[in-house]
């Protein structure tokens, strides 16, 4: 018997006022699998990721993340989302790094204040994550000092700090040159090999075909 999927999105519908942004989206992501959510701009890719990360309410359907069920209607209070938060990491298209913290502190923030790890342990984990993502030398830099590619890798490290089983990425290749896109692809494959599931929203068909296990097209 095969393991249950890490993420199940079942007939997801999201409405903005009178307009359907998403209508009956269904997909699954297994552990170790990289699924690319494809489609042109404005088709609802980001909305789908935000719904999975419980940042966006939805009107119909269901989302199950590693056994945690999100139902239609208003978002649950944060106090009831603790389990989901540890299972799902989200890398925003604009990275959304905390401007007042260094790269290192961006990564240690959740380790210290959510997981309650001591400073030394949090620093060790952050240093390892940043090194694995090839930005170990930029640990002391402020977000504004980072290039687009560096900021993205710091954002990935931050999202991985809680060791989530599912990583969501929104348009990760938007600001990358071809060499960086290829390196990013290799990084994502490595994350899959660690047993994580990845759902990547992208309109970059070439990147998706080269690195994803499966493509889901939104139209």
């Amino acid at each position: 018997m095969s393991a249950p999927p890490l993420l199940v999105i079942d007939r997801l519908r999201v409405r903005y006022e009178t307009r359907d942004v998403l209508r009956a989206l269904s997909l699954e992501v297994a552990r170790g699998e990289l699924v690319a959510l494809m489609g042109p701009s404005g088709v609802g890719k980001t909305t789908a990721l935000r719904a999975v990360a419980a940042l966006q309410r939805f009107d119909e359907g269901q989302i199950v993340v590693d056994g945690f069920v999100l139902a239609p209607g208003p978002l649950p209070p944060e106090s009831r989302l603790g389990v989901l938060r540890r299972r799902v990491g989200l890398v925003f298209q604009a990275h959304a790094l905390f401007e007042h913290l260094t790269a290192q502190s961006n990564v240690t923030l959740a380790l210290r204040h959510v997981l309650g790890k001591p400073r030394v342990e949090a620093d060790t984990i952050a240093t390892r994550l940043l090194s694995e993502l090839d930005v170990g030398t930029r640990a002391g830099a402020w977000p504004r000092q980072l290039s687009g590619g560096e900021a993205q890798r710091v954002a990935i490290a931050r999202a991985l700090a809680l060791d989530p089983a599912l990583l969501l990425m929104d348009e990760p290749t938007a600001a990358l040159d071809p060499a960086r896109r290829s390196a990013l692809g290799a990084t994502l494959r490595r994350l899959c090999e660690q047993g994580r599931g990845l759902l990547v929203a992208t309109h970059d068909a070439e990147f998706a075909r080269a690195h994803a296990d499966r493509l889901v097209n939104l139209t």
Binding site: E78, R85, V88, A96, E99, L109, A110
Partner: protein, 485 residues
Amino acid sequence: MIAALALCLVTAQQPAPRVLVWGGDAEGGAPFVEADPRDPSRVRGFDVEVAERIARGLGGDRRAQFLQVQWSNIDQSVERGDFALGLSGVEDTPARRARHAVTLPYFEFREVLAVRPADAGRIHGLADLRGRRVATLGSTIAYDLLMQARDSTGVLPISYDDDVHPYGDLVTGRVDAVLLDHIIAQRALRRRGGIGFVILLDQPVAIGHYVGVLAQANAVLRDSIDAVLREAMRDGSLKQIFRRWNVWDDTQRTFFERVLRTSETATGAATATSGQALAYVPSLARAAVVTLLVSILSMALAVVVGLTLASGRVYGSAVVRVATTIYIEIIRGTPLLLQLFVIYYGLAGVVRLPAFLAAVLALGLNYAAYEAEIYRGALEAVPRIQLEAARTLGLSELQILRLVRGPQALRYALAPMTNDFVALLKDSALVSVITVVELTKETAIYATNIGSWVVPGALCAVVYLAMSLPLARLARRLERRWQTP
């Protein structure tokens, strides 16, 4: 064009209208100068009639024309040429004589203490008021007497901007005595129906005189006015004026005889001369400390209340948002001066706040409204996507505020906060209306007593700058330190 210019010149060369423009403060009220209840566009009072008598005496069908001026600014205005003669219970002091042309004295008054009836048997003079609060009008001989008594006998002088509230505060117990001119004390007692306090008329603290004041360059007119005043003393017209206003008594008779006999230029009770200007420096230093204390405590209150209000507006329920908005709009939409009066005098029936506390409360609660808007703006300026990123990391709302939103908002708020503190430092001058003598008030007293604003004004400006510039510097340094590259 040329014709119009010629017409102007002809008009300008016509003889000046036969009026004696004199300045006084109708806010001082009867019996000096007050708006006539039957026709508020006119004034009445013994000073009004003295001015009219002087105008008549100067001849040529001259008439007196009144110009309203704040009492404490009479000297400066007359020197500027706003009017020819200042009359409004103007006291005779050596400093005034040194800087302006001063007429001979036309009325003798006694500086008298007013105390509550229960204290009348125990208090006979300033020496009996050690450690007690004694009120008076700022920038007067009485104020100088109290300042001297503070050093010699330890009374606590409380300065007011008007001569009505000191007696009200005496009755309610905010102060223990009032030292002012006997006719002011008698008027206050009449207004209260003769109850509430008693006047120690028989034990005057000092004797003073009212004079007219003219610009220093106007000594010729002053001499003419002196002649008119002597004539008015001789022919009884001055006595009739004082009788009409119920301020005539035997002391005036003796005083008139003395003036006519000696043509003296009487001097009032001892007060500061320009040579003693240095004596004000410790007072200015004390007042600067008051300004700084009021400002720092008010700002601390404003920050705490402002943060609470801003949190209410950003995170609160609809009811809380409406309530905080109403508070902010009411406070921002009404004058700080009004709020000071309401907290100090308006609430006196419910809670009798000490002046210093009332000042800190009024300033703090006022500035809280402005701080709240700064903090709200700063909180909302932190990009929403960062808050969402923090949420996906599992941080609670409180942690997000403390670790992500707050620190960034503080940077946005720092510059406007510094700006507000500098503004508050200067707005703290307003608290003098509720008897807190701070830097500006002390400067005004100093300037009035030495008859010039040049040195006191410069000193005051230097002290304000000495307080505000380091603050701006500190803020810039903090901004630089917090600024991420």
